[in-house]
Point group: C2
Chain length 509, copies 2
């Protein structure tokens, strides 16, 4: 308030509000007007979006939590949310080095704190010098902080043994953001020329949600449950042929390792060609690449395989693969970091991708910095190395143990069939449901596994997601449960769930 404003520019906010408000009266000449936004008038594509991981069952779980707080009597004392891969919410401790570095970046005054090791301080200094104005509060470049993109490229090179370049790396707000951006680029055409996207069933419902929103065509290929959710190339061929009758399939999504299914793409290498024709851009999210527990299983990146195949494949097949800080040993879901690497992408399209991400300015900078520490962790001999390794191994060791426990306890219960949890952080057991339960579900207009999961929630406080939210072969029923609760709690949870299942089957027999 140190200078005089232009006297002409005073304009009344009421005038403006009234400009909008006049709408209230106008539409029907004084009669009660309909709202602008109603379930009928809103975007129908958004109405079709479904997202089971945070769907009705989670809404009910939150209500029950409120009821417990109010003292309503329940046959349990807490809701256990095994619906979402949210490691820290289940008590997993953060990796200290990651947090020290980012805390220093936020508050450089703390550099003088003697309890923080020198390599964390050096890393924070280096990262800050890569930020605008040396502050995490500045926007980064839209595809991410250049130094972090370069560290991601180095990480991919070490992992795959083939070259990678920072230019192909776009940092993102979690992997979801990057997946949706790539899909956005791919959607075009009308009617039978509309872009089709092959997704595995069961799938992670981000895909079906994004495809519904983008009005792309979902083409399902079914994973083979009887072979531990393996991908079957004949089935892929069937799905492609089916898709071609109604759309233009251009994208093949593969989740590696799987979610909700736990298969990892490991094992002996065959050089047999599958002979699937058509224009397909691979799109494998690989966010669980650190979460592989089964003996003999290992993570194989699609890029590595593609490059080993040599030309023309290595030079022509377009690939976008995704990673995230939300899973792995770090589990930093709340910081929303991730990236996509694009391979063999047309340079003009890459420029369009760069433009698209620029509209949202930049991904959260702290998520980018956490990603940097994951891609370039402390090395042997550095002050933080031992603590970092111990914490990382403790997390991954506990997950492997919980994977084993889950399979073991579920498979002891007649009617529950659980494939080995080889990777990721979920089990996806199949449950047999008696005909009377199917009838009861039908009466309630619920999918049978939704009916089961709702009853489970009401009676035990355990929140898992019905298989119908991920897709499954008709006539089969599943639920997805995370393996994240602390071991002792998980054991009790698995036993409680098995007991409930047996009781449920008896009730409806």
């Amino acid at each position: 308030p140190r200078y005089h404003p232009c006297p002409r520019c005073h304009l009344c906010p009421r005038l403006l509000a009234m400009a909008a408000a006049a709408a209230a009266a106008a539409a029907a000449g004084g009669a009660r007007r309909a709202r602008v936004l109603t379930p009928e008038s809103m975007n129908p594509a958004i109405r079709r979006v479904e997202y089971a991981v945070r769907g009705p069952i989670v809404t009910r779980a939150l209500e029950i939590e409120q009821e417990l707080k109010k003292g309503l009597p329940k046959p349990f004392t807490e809701v256990i949310k095994a619906n979402i891969g949210d490691a820290h919410a289940m008590g997993q401790q953060p990796i200290t080095f990651l947090r020290q570095v980012t805390a220093l970046c936020l508050c450089p005054e703390l550099m003088k704190d003697e309890s923080i090791p020198s390599d964390a301080k050096e890393r924070a200094q280096r990262l800050l010098s890569a930020c605008g104005g040396h502050s995490v509060g500045a926007y980064s470049a839209s595809p991410g902080v250049q130094m972090v993109r370069e560290n991601v490229a180095r990480y991919i090179e070490r992992r795959d043994g083939v070259p990678a370049t920072a230019d192909d790396i776009f940092l993102s707000t979690g992997a979801s953001d990057a997946i949706v951006n790539i899909l956005k680029l791919l959607v075009s055409g009308e009617g039978s020329q509309r872009t089709g996207v092959l997704i595995p069933i069961p799938q992670y419902p981000l895909y079906s949600a994004a495809l519904a929103e983008l009005e792309a065509v979902q083409v399902n290929y079914y994973l083979a449950e009887e072979r531990c959710w393996a991908l079957d190339v004949a089935e892929l061929r069937r799905a492609l042929a089916e898709g071609r009758q109604r759309c233009c399939p251009r994208v093949l999504c593969i989740i590696n390792p799987g979610n909700p299914t736990e298969v990892t793409w490991g094992g002996p290498h065959s050089r047999e060609k599958s002979g699937i024709p058509g224009d397909i851009l691979g799109c494998p999210p690989q966010v669980y690449q650190d979460n592989i527990y089964a003996e003999g299983s290992a993570f194989h990146s699609f890029k590595k395989v593609l490059m080993e195949m040599g030309p023309p494949y290595s030079a022509e097949v377009e690939l976008a693969s995704f990673h995230s800080i939300s899973k792995g040993f770090m589990g930093e879901c709340g910081l929303r970091g991730g990236y996509v690497e694009v391979v063999n992408m047309n340079p003009e399209v890459k420029a369009q991708l760069a433009k698209l991400v620029s509209v949202r300015l930049c991904p959260p900078v702290l998520g980018q910095l956490i990603l940097d520490t994951v891609m370039d962790p402390p090395k042997p001999g550095e002050p933080s190395y031992e603590r970092f390794q111990a914490e990382k191994e403790a997390v991954l060791g506990a997950l492997a143990e919980k994977a084993r426990l889950t399979q073991e306890i579920f498979n002891q219960t007649p009617g529950i069939h659980c494939n080995p949890v080889q990777g990721a952080m979920y089990s996806f057991p199949r449950i047999e449901l008696p005909p009377k339960a199917l009838a009861a579900a039908k009466e309630k207009k619920q999918a049978p596994d939704m009916f089961f999961c709702m009853r489970l929630l009401e009676e035990t406080g355990i929140c898992v997601v019905p298989g119908s939210g991920f897709g499954q072969k008709e006539g089969t029923f599943h639920f997805r449960m995370t393996i994240l609760p602390p071991t002792e709690k998980l054991k009790i949870l698995l036993e409680k769930l098995s007991t409930f299942y047996t009781k449920f089957v008896k009730e409806f027999s």
Copy 2:
């Protein structure tokens, strides 16, 4: 690696990659195949998106920075990016309390650091107890941490003196994210029934970019430059009538205070009705509500005005208003925090909004926590109060001074006309360009103000955004420049720019 995996589930990654790779050969029977994603085959809506704030001029600025690093001789030593409202990148210091609280949340081990005041520690404890598993690494609820939503509602109540409820607050990844989500809900219909959105010209190009992506119809209303960019209700009526001929206008966007124009909706209150008919949902972003410098100007929230108007307006007009941590005195762009408050929204549509945001899981948690500290800052008597106030006032005082300086220096130069910078953090001066310059621009296939800004960048290192990126009345030319560089630097910059302009005009006369 503690148990035996199912022996049947080994599937070769090569098989999968080949399934995708076979596409390389298939399309043209062995001939060189086209890529899946080409400029021709990609989503045409994305191709139409433009975002001037990070457009070609910024790309060139980044190249020049690289050239300077390589030692290429230039008539300047650094690029000054006055293209984007990025306060920290321009040297603005972060507010200590905000950073202390979030650093403690990231790394609770630092609670024992004695240099951090007790109220920051208490706030961090309280925020952590509102996070899943007491960790910022857990996902929050999709509309945001409940405690933060409640603090936002209390803040709005204090600001407007009317009730607000946490249920109407959806936290977001910066304001942009929330704006796009609300627009997404509103888009429907085909042809002349397609949703139209009234936006001010000049506008902030997020709107045109989002509308292009969503394939909604952009309806322009022009702000009155001769009255300091005031909104003119007759012009609004004209735009609405024009829009009705080609679409169904359903949304009125007002930027309050303006961006790139700097008008604030203050001044005397008229109760005159504007008489604009039609179904209009107000959509005013108010991210600059703390950035008001002009004497006699004040921030008036649309919600407050609407509520003061009483029924039926107060009960029926739908309003969505946005706020962000990126601007104001905090300038925390990199943390990506913000919110939308929806007023009078149909409850079913609100449930659809909740579903839509759940697909992206949650906004960055640290951005949410920074928002909490902004909504509920230290109070008199608390240990952090004085430092907080002093830092806040220093930032806002400097901005007011820079607003004054900008207007003063620009208006000393014949041919440059700069309205007072009443709010926000930009000036949007009009420049007269001689006919020969227009001809030279035409030859280069550039908009005349793009031609001017490119020359400015090449010769002085100053990066500003051409008015054509925001929209302007035909035949007028502008550029947008932030007022953010430190005062001494800004002064030099303004003088350099004015000198260059004079030289440019002479060259083309």
